[in-house]
Symmetry: C2
Subunit: 199 residues, 2 copies
C-alpha cells in the first residue's frame, strides 16, 4: 500500500530540506496533517513569499526585501569598516552582538577545491570593486569560519586586498568565553596561546 | 537588526514543526531561499493539499483521500480480522510487512492519565460499534506500542471486547530479529522468555 498522494507529495517536500530523511519527513508530514489549518496556510505562504520577496543586496550581497539592504542604506553606520562573512545569516549573528557598527560583505560561500568552488564562484569581484570605489574604507575584517576552507579564503582575500593599502584583519581565535581549557581542542589551544594578550 | 519580514515569517513556520527550534528553523529558512523555485512551490502546495484533501476514513479512522479508505473498500481483504493501531502511520508500517491482509482500526492515540486522555478521547466507540455491526469479525489484534500507555490501552480494549465473544490478541513481545541477547533490556528479555515458543 502506498501513502495517499497528498501525503507522499508532502513527504517529498520535507525530504528536500537538509538533514531530513524519509523517516523524519514522514513524521513531519503526519504532524502537519494534525496542525491547525491557519498555521499550515501561513507556513505555506511564508515559503512562497520568502522565495519571491527576498533578493540579494546589490552592494553587499546580504538578503533583503529592498535594495540596497537596510545596513548599506544606513549612512549613520561606520563607513570605514567592511566585515566579510560567508553567509547572510552570519550578519544576523554579528548584529546580535551589537558591538560592530560598520558595513558588511557576503561571500556566499568559501573557496573549496573539493566542491570545485573557486574565487570566481564567490562574491569577491564586487568586494574588490567596492573597495576601489569607496576610498573611505580603511579596514576589511575577515570573518569567515574557522574551517580550513574559511582560513584559505581569508588568506586569499588578504593577499588580494593588502596591496591596495587597506588594512586586513581576521577575527581572533581562542577559547570560548566560560569554557574549560580541559575541553579545548589542541588547535584552539594553540591559537589561544599564539594570540595571547597582555594583561 | 531584525530578520527581513519574509524570513522571520518562514522561521516562525518551521518552528511550528516538532523538534525544530529557533536555530534549526533559521538554518532551514536560509536553505529554502537557496532552493529551486519549483521545489519551494511544490512544497508549499503540498502543505495546503495535505491539509485540504486528506480526511479520516469514517470506518477505520485511517488517513485517506476518499471515504471509505482503500483498505476498508477492498472486499478481497480478510474481513474477519481487525488490527488496532495507535496512528495512521502504523498502518503503513504493517502494510510494508505484506503479511497481514485483514482490516485496521486507528485509535488516534492511547489512554494517558498524564495527558488527561481517557477512552472517550480515542476512536474506541466506533470500534465497538463496528464489531457489533459486523458479526463476521472474529479476531481483534491489538498493536498499540509496547509503552505503559500502549499496554494499558490494550488491556482496556481487551476487557471491553472479550465479553462479546470476540478473540482478542496482542502482538508478541520479544527479541528483535538479528539482535544480541546481550543488548536486550530486562523487560524485553522477560517477555521473550515468557512468550517462548516450542521448536
Amino acid at each position: 500500500m502506498q501513502y495517499p498522494e497528498p501525503i507522499a507529495q508532502l513527504i517529498d517536500g520535507y525530504m528536500k530540506l537538509p538533514g531530513i530523511g524519509q523517516k523524519s519527513a514522514t513524521r513531519l508530514a503526519f504532524f502537519t496533517i494534525d496542525m491547525a489549518e491557519d498555521d499550515v496556510t501561513a507556513f505555506s505562504k511564508a515559503l512562497i513569499a520568502a522565495k519571491r520577496d527576498l533578493h540579494f543586496c546589490s552592494i553587499c550581497g546580504n538578503i533583503t526585501e529592498g535594495d540596497p539592504c537596510s545596513i548599506c542604506a544606513d549612512k549613520t553606520r561606520d563607513q570605514t569598516h567592511v566585515l566579510v562573512v560567508e553567509q547572510p545569516k552570519d550578519i544576523m549573528v554579528m548584529e546580535k552582538m551589537k558591538e560592530y557598527h560598520g558595513l558588511y560583505h557576503v561571500l556566499h560561500g568559501v573557496m573549496s577545491p573539493i566542491e570545485g568552488k573557486g574565487p570566481e564562484d564567490l562574491n569577491i569581484a564586487s568586494l574588490i570593486n567596492r573597495l576601489q570605489q569607496n576610498p573611505n574604507i580603511k579596514e576589511v575584517i575577515i570573518a569567515t569560519n574557522a574551517t580550513p576552507e574559511g582560513e584559505a579564503t581569508a588568506m586569499y582575500l588578504s593577499r588580494l586586498i593588502k596591496p591596495a593599502g587597506i588594512k586586513v584583519t581576521r577575527l581572533a581565535h581562542g577559547l570560548s568565553v566560560g569554557s574549560d581549557i580541559e575541553y579545548a581542542d589542541e588547535m584552539t589551544l594553540f591559537k589561544a596561546v599564539e594570540g595571547r594578550t597582555e594583561m
